[in-house]
């Protein structure tokens, strides 16, 4: 039985015990209430165990998001490279102008 199913079944049992407590009186009622309180906590323990089991399954999904973030990082670097190349082309004209000034006293 999976942790998820166990948590569901114990929650259902807690509810049925609650119905029993409502119709009991006297010492049996108090003992039943004590057991009910304990069953509630065991239900909560089954639920947290199921959540812990589920936590392990997030790993692959989170790895896919990490891979996507890395791909964006690579894209960003490529975009900056294109911008740098265009700047170099523009700066080349500056260099030519400077050389012409020095050579021809323009």
């Amino acid at each position: 039985m999976s942790s998820h199913d166990l948590a569901e079944k114990t929650a259902g049992l807690t509810s049925r015990v609650d119905n029993l407590v409502a119709i009991q009186t006297g010492p049996e009622c108090r003992e039943l209430e004590r057991q009910q309180a304990r069953l509630e906590k065991l239900t909560l323990a089954a639920i947290t165990a199921a959540l812990d089991e589920s936590s392990k399954r997030y790993k692959d999904a989170l790895a896919a998001l990490d891979a996507a973030n890395e791909a964006i990082g690579e894209g960003d670097e490529k975009m900056q490279q294109i911008s740098r190349i265009i700047k170099i082309v523009a700066q080349a004209a500056d260099v030519v102008e400077t050389l012409l000034k020095k050579a021809g006293g323009l």
Binding site: A7, A11, L44, I47, A61, L65, I82, D94
Partner: protein
């Protein structure tokens, strides 16, 4: 030797022709904004709801401490099973884990949004303007080429257009690649969060019932101020747990919409057919510049 004007003419046609061939529908930055906002909203709402659940757990333990005399351990979320093993049922670390998962999802959508909108063009425009200034200056020093200034403008525009087209192609390709890689992860995270919310709902209902059961055992039978004060406190906790259950339901519905929205944005990036209006505009511009340049010869 071929004249510089011929090279400039070729460059201009290339610059105008390249967008003609590769012109794309604009990247849907508005959709990336919406996806980021939706993910952030789910994260913020989940954080608030999880904090309320932690508060409910504290109240549950106050109404249901460990059996026997009160000690510092009485209010810890621990139960001993039939084999004597201590079982921890503290929801706090489990909720915080899920919050961090939703934060990772939200951060990813923020990265997409930032990349889709990042201004690389600003540097490109500045570089193109510098190019125009430099080439203009050079041309002005050549008295036998009075059309040099005009050619400088065309060259700068051509470089700008080539650069812009290259930037947008690269941006679109990177977004497609990233979103393809992420889609299974987005779906996986959402499926797990929705399934876990079912368990968390059970926990909230169990704690609500536990508070009511305990309060019924404590409640004075005769009407009194003590009874009213107890009733008042319990009614607040019942309302709180009802609101928590409603929030969890709303969160599950909201988070379920994210994978489909992500997939639709990814599909829209495949639409790189040029729009008719863009084509017509480019053709008109190319004709105008061709006539203008022809008049410079």
């Amino acid at each position: 030797m071929r004249s510089p004007g011929r090279y400039i003419r070729l460059l201009v046609w290339l610059a105008l022709g390249l967008p003609l061939v590769t012109a794309c529908a604009a990247i849907p930055t508005g959709r990336f904004d919406a996806l980021s906002a939706a993910s952030r909203s789910v994260l913020d709402s989940s954080s608030a709801t999880y904090s309320r659940i932690e508060g409910l757990q504290r109240n549950y333990m106050v109404f249901n401490p460990a059996e026997g005399r009160l000690t510092p351990e009485s209010f810890k979320a621990v139960v001993v099973d039939d084999q004597g093993r201590k079982l921890d049922f503290d929801l706090r670390p489990r909720l915080r884990f899920r919050e961090s998962v939703l934060e990772a999802l939200s951060n990813y959508t923020d990265v997409l949004q930032a990349f889709a909108k990042k201004d690389y063009q600003g540097d490109l425009d500045a570089a193109s303007q510098n190019l125009y200034a430099s080439v203009s200056d050079l041309a002005a020093r050549a008295p036998d080429n009075p059309a040099g200034q005009k050619a400088a403008g065309l060259l700068a525009a051509a470089v700008n257009e080539l650069g812009r087209a290259a930037l947008e192609r690269t941006r679109r390709r990177a977004l497609r690649r990233a979103m393809e890689a992420a889609q299974p992860g987005v779906e996986g995270v959402v499926d797990l969060i929705v399934a876990d919310n079912v368990l968390i709902v059970q926990a909230v209902r169990t704690m609500q019932n536990g508070i009511l059961r305990s309060a019924n055992g404590l409640r004075p039978t005769a009407p009194s101020l003590d009874r009213v004060q107890l009733d008042e406190r319990v009614s607040r906790l019942v309302d709180e747990s009802s609101e928590i259950l409603a929030s969890l339901d709303a969160l599950s519905r909201a988070v379920k919409a994210i994978p489909r929205a992500h997939a639709e944005i990814r599909e829209s990036l495949d639409d790189d057919r040029p729009s008719l209006a863009q084509l017509q505009s480019l053709i008109a511009e190319a004709k105008r510049l061709s006539q203008f340049y022809g008049s410079l010869k």
